[in-house]
């Protein structure tokens, strides 16, 4: 390093800049201090000792949730809360009495709330009663004033009404499990959320729990606003000259709107068709994976959870043995029964273990390992090949396939079609179901796989467990041409300016499932046959749109147990799709202990498929399950048609009258024009010099009722002057057959 001590000279001049900067800043700060402390000192001092700044939270409206067609699933309603604030209550006894006399809240109730007041600062309000009516609000507000005189009947100092939002559902039980609900945040969640998203969550906030409300809470919650006020010790708002502009007011930002892929009409239909039964319905768009319907029965009413009686209701449904809180669409894992034959068939064909036209003999049962495995058709199906085996759900054919495949190969195809693993839908607690392999059984039970078990898993019994969502996914992927899809629930989220902040977009290249598309096409054709060729799903031919699918009846207990109670009845399955060419919707329904799949589950699937088709293509099914939905619409349309008819008739009458009037008007003008003509002829005959042609206004009928008088150009006036025969027959701009007549009259 060079010691350049003779080179400091250049820097000497620079110091003054720094010195100036330092001194300038110090002076500025001193000036500011002088301003704050000397000039406004008294004012701030008064502030700090006697008054307080209160920040009144302005709650943000939570975002609304819509279905795929923009129908409201969840919205907000205002709710009024009666509060009492210890700091501003002067005479508690009188305050309680006043409340009791005015709106009937018992004194004991108020006193028990009042006893809690030491647990929080005095300026924070205590909630006396939630969700009071508008009349009660008016009663309180009209009698509240900040000055109390002896002899006043009511003393409501410290009593106030707060407004906040509550969730409101046009139909409370139609999409319960998917939507989730909203309640006050608990300690654990508060800690976690505060860390992940600083500044968004505070004690006392409402958050979404379960379902969409929880998953998309950040987008739905918006931002609370706040209003700073000065309140003095007696509870009066103080407006010091000039302080108002130092206070801050910030509007609340409402939450964003979430558009789901669900169709509310399908949800309603599912709910109505399930009635009092337990189970679940899931419908997907096989091309995009959009969840068109997801319903789980029994369902509960979200409106009750959003109102003051929530705690009681919650205890009820949480302890009910029917399991209200379970979302059976993703958490209910059932043996798939005969719907699994779809997988077995595809696996056998793909592995080349059977040819499509190869016959297997079904004599009503299969004897294996010392046991008789029955086919549901007691007499058997005779020699049967792939297509018919699926159409008539022959068990023996699939037992045979099961023996040829073994659990591991079968499991591979099941996994390819989406079974045995979570679909990844953005809801919590999805179960993965179970597709057994030999290794799995070894791990789980410590005993090796028995070949006899191949038969039961091939027909969807035994260890197999499938959720309704998985089954819907499976059949979607079979009939959509063999592409992998991922079920999703949210279509788009829009912010308050209407711009999308999230949109589902299909991935650029769709992954193909590793199964020969020809085989999948064969399976699809067989599934079509199940309905159209009088197979086990034949009753669905009654619908207008052509459907395909597969029935399933899953045994809950073994046939020999001799149990006939409801809980021992089989689960009923049906998976279906429509229309046959280019399917637009695929659905899976399971009815717990519903009995036969064809009888219990198929009608629900059929109704859902047809209804979706009707909505999409604007048709109206006449099927008894759906016709009632269109009754009103049809009646309305008839009325409308009648009205249109009558309007048309009136229109025609009017037209006729107008035509008559116009004709008469024309006749009149004809006569007038004739008269003019004669006069002009006379004038021309007596004229000697040819004056410069003065353009004469030409009467042009524009509409039958409106006559416009237009000034023609000089050119046109000259033409008008010429004799008729010399005039070039040129089409003027206003050429009309009638106009020609007028021209010659000049």
């Amino acid at each position: 390093m060079r010691l350049s001590h003779d080179n400091t000279g250049d820097m000497d001049r620079r110091y003054k800049y720094l010195i100036v900067m330092v001194i300038a800043f110090i002076v500025i700060v001193l000036a500011r201090l002088y301003f704050l402390q000397v000039i406004k000192g008294e004012f701030y001092h008064f502030f700090s000792t006697e008054n307080s700044i209160k920040q009144i939270k302005i709650p943000a409206a939570r975002g609304m949730i819509f279905d795929r067609r923009g129908q409201v699933l969840v919205e907000n309603r205002p709710s009024f809360t009666l509060t009492i604030t210890p700091q501003y209550v002067v005479n508690p006894k009188m305050a309680f009495e006043s409340i009791e006399n005015l709106i009937g809240v018992p004194r004991e109730e108020i006193e028990s709330v009042w006893a809690e007041r030491y647990k929080q600062p005095k300026y924070q309000p205590l909630v006396v009663r939630d969700d009071i009516t508008a009349e009660e609000v008016a009663t309180i507000k009209s009698r509240k004033n900040p000055w109390y005189h002896d002899g006043d009947e009511f003393d409501l100092r410290g009593v106030d009404v707060e407004i906040r939002y509550r969730r409101s559902y046009p139909q409370g039980n139609v999409a319960t499990h998917v939507l989730g609900y909203v309640r006050e945040i608990d300690g654990d969640r508060l800690d976690k959320y505060r860390k992940d998203h600083p500044g968004r969550y505070f004690l006392g906030d409402n958050i979404g729990v379960r379902g969409i409300e929880e998953k998309w809470d950040l987008d739905l919650r918006g931002r609370d606003g706040y209003d700073q006020r000065i309140i003095n010790a007696v509870g009066r708002e103080v407006d010091y000259g000039g302080i108002a502009d130092q206070l801050e007011y910030h509007d609340a930002e409402p939450g964003f709107s979430v558009f789901l892929t669900l169709d509310r009409d399908l949800q309603e239909l599912a709910r109505d068709m399930f009635g009092g039964r337990t189970g679940s319905a899931v419908a997907l768009d096989p091309n995009t994976g959009a969840v068109l319907a997801m319903y789980s029965a029994p369902s509960y009413d979200l409106n009750i959870l959003a109102s003051p009686g929530a705690d009681e209701y919650w205890k009820q449904i949480a302890s009910d043995p029917r399991g209200y809180l379970i979302n059976r669409a993703i958490q209910g894992a059932y043996p798939p029964g005969s719907t699994y034959k779809i997988v077995t068939g595809i696996a056998a064909l793909a592995e080349g273990l059977v040819k499509p036209d190869e016959n297997v003999r079904c004599g009503g049962g299969l004897h294996y390992g010392g046991r008789m495995y029955h086919c549901w058709a007691k007499g058997g199906h005779g020699p049967i090949s792939y297509h018919r085996s699926l159409v008539h759900s022959c068990d023996v054919y699939y037992y045979t396939m099961g023996l040829r495949l073994g659990p591991d190969r079968l499991a591979t195809y099941a996994n390819k079609l989406g079974l045995g693993k979570r679909t990844g839908i953005s809801l919590a607690d999805e179960r993965s179901g179970l597709i057994p392999t030999a290794a799995w059984k070894e791990r789980r039970f410590g005993v090796p796989w028995q070949r006899g078990e191949n038969l039961s898993i091939a027909v969807g019994q035994g260890y197999d467990l499938v959720t309704p969502l998985q089954n819907a996914l499976m059949i979607s992927q079979v009939v959509n041409g063999g592409y992998e899809i991922k079920p999703h629930l949210v279509e788009a989220i829009y912010n308050n300016e209407g711009d999308p902040v999230y949109r589902w977009v299909p991935s650029e290249d769709r992954k193909k499932i590793d199964i020969d598309p020809e085989i999948l096409a064969r399976a699809k054709a067989a599934l079509a046959g199940v309905v159209q060729e009088g197979g086990t799903g034949g009753r669905l031919r009654a619908y207008e749109v052509k459907m395909g699918g597969k029935t399933g009846t899953a045994q809950v207990v073994s046939l020999e147990s001799g149990c006939f109670k409801h809980e021992c009845r089989d689960h009923a399955w049906f998976v279906g799709f429509a229309p046959l060419e280019n399917p637009e919707i695929a659905a899976a329904v399971v009815v717990e202990h519903g009995g036969f799949g064809a009888a219990a589950a198929a009608p629900i699937v059929g109704a859902i498929l047809q209804r979706y088709y009707d909505i999409k293509h604007n048709t109206r099914s006449k099927h008894p399950h759906l016709a009632h939905l269109y009754k009103d619409v049809i009646a309305e349309e008839a009325e409308e048609a009648k009205r249109v008819e009558e309007a048309k008739k009136a229109e025609e009458v009017k037209k006729a009258e107008e035509a008559k009037r116009a004709e008469e008007a024309e006749k009149k003008e004809q006569q007038a024009a004739d008269k003019l003509n004669v006069e002009k002829e006379v004038k021309r005959a007596s004229a000697t010099t040819k004056p410069k042609p003065v353009p004469k206004p030409r009467v042009v009928p524009v509409a039958k009722r409106q006559l416009i008088v237009e000034q023609p150009t000089v050119q046109e006036a000259e033409i008008q002057e010429k004799k008729p025969a010399q005039r070039r027959r040129r089409k003027s701009k206003y050429h009309r057959p009638r106009a020609r007549k007028l021209e010659t009259e000049e």
Binding site: Y44, I53, G199, Y226
Partner: protein, 365 residues
């Protein structure tokens, strides 16, 4: 013995001691009222750090400060390494990833990085004199040296300190004289870079912090409300204050960071305008004396180093006081020698030790 104490700039030393004492006194008041929350632990810990800092200052003032010129690069590298370490294995405190915990000690490498940067910056300007101002191509090296720790600090999430490094670079470069063209060019690039980083380079929560900083009302329970309280606290001190320990800390009880960002309002409330005047005079004295030491130094490196240290303290003063008095947006920059913060205290005292050192050797050349 004689030799050790010859040429020591006692006036400077006394000013430093005065500031330290006021800082400790004030900190005691700030933490005194914390019932359930904090306790006097903070006060004692600050005292310990002050003593460590003073000892370090003592030692630093004896080394030949030219050692720093030679050691500039390793010091800089170590500070970068510490920053990287804090990103990787550091712990998160108050939302920033800027702390390294070693046992019961916690270090904030960003503070040391500031000092390290000043040293390398001073060395650069000292060794590369320019007679008509620095152009862009001459400044790219110190700029780069600044961007590395700046970027790391941004990754940590501490926006205030990263802006601070930019500010140090700007003031010292300005001091060293920059060609006018280059000045304008830098301004333009700077604005463009800030906009680009804001739009693309920051994580969401960092962006949220900036909008909160720029617009305090947006942070509902945060800075907007606190700024109001801060002004009330300062203003309510009037001319002579409310008296030591008698500050109406009811207001400030709901104001977090009383021991860091908002120490000045605590002081202003208790000591009023008179107290503020004294404190600011002391700071002014500190800075002007440091600049004077810089000017008297017969040697370029010493001059730049002392000026750099003065600028560092000045910038911290500006940002903290400006924010707290409502003159500019609030950021998390602390008040030197007053705010709680072991690393900051040690770093500042060490750099003041360097200044003392330079002052001692003014007769050496």
């Amino acid at each position: 013995m004689q030799k050790i104490f010859e040429n020591v700039n006692w006036h400077f030393f006394v000013v430093i001691l005065a500031l330290i004492s006021i800082g400790l006194l004030n900190l005691y008041s700030a933490v005194y009222y914390w019932g359930e929350g904090g306790s006097l632990v903070l006060f004692w810990s600050q005292l310990v750090w002050m003593i460590i800092g003073l000892v370090l200052m003592f030692f630093v003032s004896f080394i030949d400060y030219r050692f720093f010129s030679r050691a500039a690069t390793p010091i800089y590298v170590i500070s970068i390494v510490l920053l990287v370490l804090s990103l990787v294995i550091g712990s998160e405190v108050r939302g920033t990833q800027g702390w390294l915990k070693l046992g019961f000690l916690s270090l904030q490498p960003a503070e040391f990085a500031k000092v390290a940067y000043i040293i390398v910056l001073a060395r650069y300007f000292a060794n590369n004199p320019s007679y008509d101002g620095y152009g862009f191509w001459e400044l790219w090296r110190p700029l780069l040296l600044m961007l590395i720790p700046c970027g790391l600090i941004i990754l940590q999430g501490d926006l205030g300190s990263s802006m601070f490094l930019v500010l140090i670079f700007a003031t010292v470069a300005f001091f060293a004289r920059v060609k006018r063209r280059t000045l304008i060019a830098f301004l333009v690039i700077g604005v463009a870079a800030v906009m680009a980083i804001y739009a693309f380079g920051l994580k969401d929560y960092q962006r949220e912090r900036i909008t909160t900083f720029m617009n305090p009302e947006a942070d509902v329970r945060g800075s907007g409300y606190h700024l109001m309280q801060s002004k009330i606290a300062v203003g309510s001190g009037r001319v002579f204050g409310k008296g030591y320990l008698k500050g109406n800390i009811n207001k400030l009880r709901y104001l977090p960071e009383r021991h860091t960002d908002f120490v000045f309002p605590v002081f202003a409330e208790e000591w009023g305008f008179a107290g503020g005047f004294v404190l600011l005079t002391l700071y002014a004295a500190l800075l002007l004396m440091a600049l004077d030491i810089a000017r008297r130094s017969k040697e370029r490196f010493g001059g730049f180093l002392a000026a750099g240290v003065a600028m560092m303290i000045f910038c911290q003063l500006v940002i903290n006081l400006g924010g707290v008095l409502g003159l500019m947006p609030l950021t998390g920059v602390t008040l030197p020698l007053m705010s709680y913060g072991g690393s900051s205290v040690v770093a500042v005292l060490a750099s003041l030790g360097i200044v003392l050192n330079i002052s001692k050797r003014r007769f050496m050349f």
